[in-house]
Symmetry: C2
Subunit: 306 residues, 2 copies
């Protein structure tokens, strides 16, 4: 049944300046040729909740399984810090070293094996505080935006700091985004041969190129996809360059920044961007550069899917 008194466009976005700016961009974007209608979304904290990082929960499960199989692994500094949630130790070890140690847990697996593990985890994992499955911590207003963009013949890409394979394992199911439209941090593959002589791919514990954060998001997106966004959507300092990139290629364009200011329905925290010599809250960067800031508390009538 039609409801002529309710605007069917972006129903979870409350009326106001943010929604007006978004709708104005959606209308104006139709002046661009279809090939230029490209949107780039960050994932963690932008398309779904990032407290805790979903992929970190997956990796904790994998460490626990590895330790159960070989208890001596519990003594390894990177795994111990993670299992104990020891942020001081994690800071001292550094994210790169921890990430590479975690990559070792899947070394030698085929892409299919890893994808199966990621999907099995996502099918069963529950959020520790939000009283919903992890797969249901996507943001309803963003799902609506993805649909509106596709209705306008946009090509939608996910440009995530997370592991490419992990995001690809769930992106079609959660967001309708195909594997090839996901750009993340890549683990290198070795091409080996099976006993019958056929080639196969095996995961290594090496990162291919640069981790997909900051300026690398621009370079990696261009290398992998060859397309420039006119809409950039993010929430953190690691998305800053991508959002600037989206706005530097002519008009119309839009940079949309999610401000996590909703302690009641989600979480209240604020990312910082390293600009010049000091850390600048990302919302101040947004104001300085004229981005559109989404206040989760004010602009979203509904946060999660029902």
């Amino acid at each position: 049944m039609s409801r002529p008194d309710v605007d069917p466009l972006l129903p979870s976005w409350r009326p106001g300046a943010t929604r007006d700016a978004l709708v104005a961009f959606l209308d104006a974007s139709l002046d661009r040729p279809v090939g230029e209608r490209v949107a780039a979304f960050d994932n963690d904290g932008t398309l779904w909740s990032e407290q805790p990082f979903v992929q970190l929960a997956f990796l904790e499960d994998a460490v626990q399984a590895a330790v159960a199989a070989d208890p001596t692994l519990a003594g390894r500094a990177e795994y111990a810090a993670l299992l104990e949630g020891d942020r001081a130790a994690m800071g001292e070890l550094g994210l790169t070293r921890i990430a590479l140690a975690l990559a070792e847990l899947f070394e030698g697996e085929t892409p299919e094996q890893f994808t199966e593990k990621a999907r099995t985890f996502m099918a069963g994992a529950h959020h520790p505080s939000l009283d919903r499955p992890l797969r249901a911590t996507t943001y309803q207003p963003m799902l609506e935006l993805l649909d509106e963009l596709r209705r306008r013949d946009f090509t939608v890409f996910i440009v995530s700091g997370g592991g490419t394979e992990f995001v690809r394992a769930v992106s079609d199911d959660l967001y309708g985004v195909a594997p090839e439209a996901v750009v993340g941090t890549l683990i290198a593959y070795d091409v080996t041969r099976r006993a019958d002589g056929a080639p196969e791919l095996r995961r290594t514990a090496r990162v291919l190129g640069e981790a997909n954060e900051g300026p690398a998001k621009i370079a990696n997106m261009h290398s992998q996809l060859g397309r420039r966004p006119i809409l950039g959507v993010g929430n953190s300092g690691g998305d800053r360059d991508l959002l600037e990139w989206a706005c530097a290629g002519g008009e119309p364009s839009l940079a949309l920044l999610v401000d996590h200011d909703d302690a009641e329905r989600e979480f209240a925290y604020r990312s910082v961007a390293q600009t010049f010599a000091e850390d600048e809250p990302i919302t101040e960067v947004a104001e300085r550069l004229g981005w559109t800031v989404v206040s989760m508390a004010r602009d979203w009538a509904q946060v999660f899917p029902t």
Copy 2:
């Protein structure tokens, strides 16, 4: 007007065993879920003629322009060998060193500048012996196959040894393949800042990862696209691993190898694959592995578009 007495499927493919195998595969592929209907095509010698390599003709033009602007460059060994067509000197220098010297010609350019150059070249370049524009040296039977695959909801990727940016500049126009569906040899980008502070991409003269030939075609395709082909189409030793990969992931699958045996309408030559200790003609590899070989002379009623 319909022509019920003419089969509209793949009209440039002559009746026979090759066409039968191809049509049987197209029919059987419908049993696969849509997400698994993935085709990977090599470009040079598979989708268009490779004598001469189109990209090499483009690069020769660029060297000539650079030498006209700075005559001292004519003394540089890599450029001299190319301009003189000195195959002995080229062999001695090695393809990698020549490719990197050529990449220097475009160092510092933005992606848009390079794309514009590639498109301008393709708009005006003529084949030296085939009496047609270079952009019309695509193979009509392959264009028909691309359309048939898309009609069956296949995702079509180009996995080329050529430079990714060059192929992307023309792939939509020639083949209806979007930039993000092209995997080739990648030049790295630097992210810099314009005078107004906005980020921009500038080409370097460094290759990112491995040149996209042989086993690297499998690893690069998976890293960039996250999908496995069930149809692999190629023509040379550099495509061998990709075609084996297409056939190693379950049935139905098909490896299609173009044999350039048509001196009258195109060219007659045969690529070799380095297998074990010796060079094996790629058509013998095909026979050993049960691939379907396309004889250009026998199987194609028409080679080029009219």
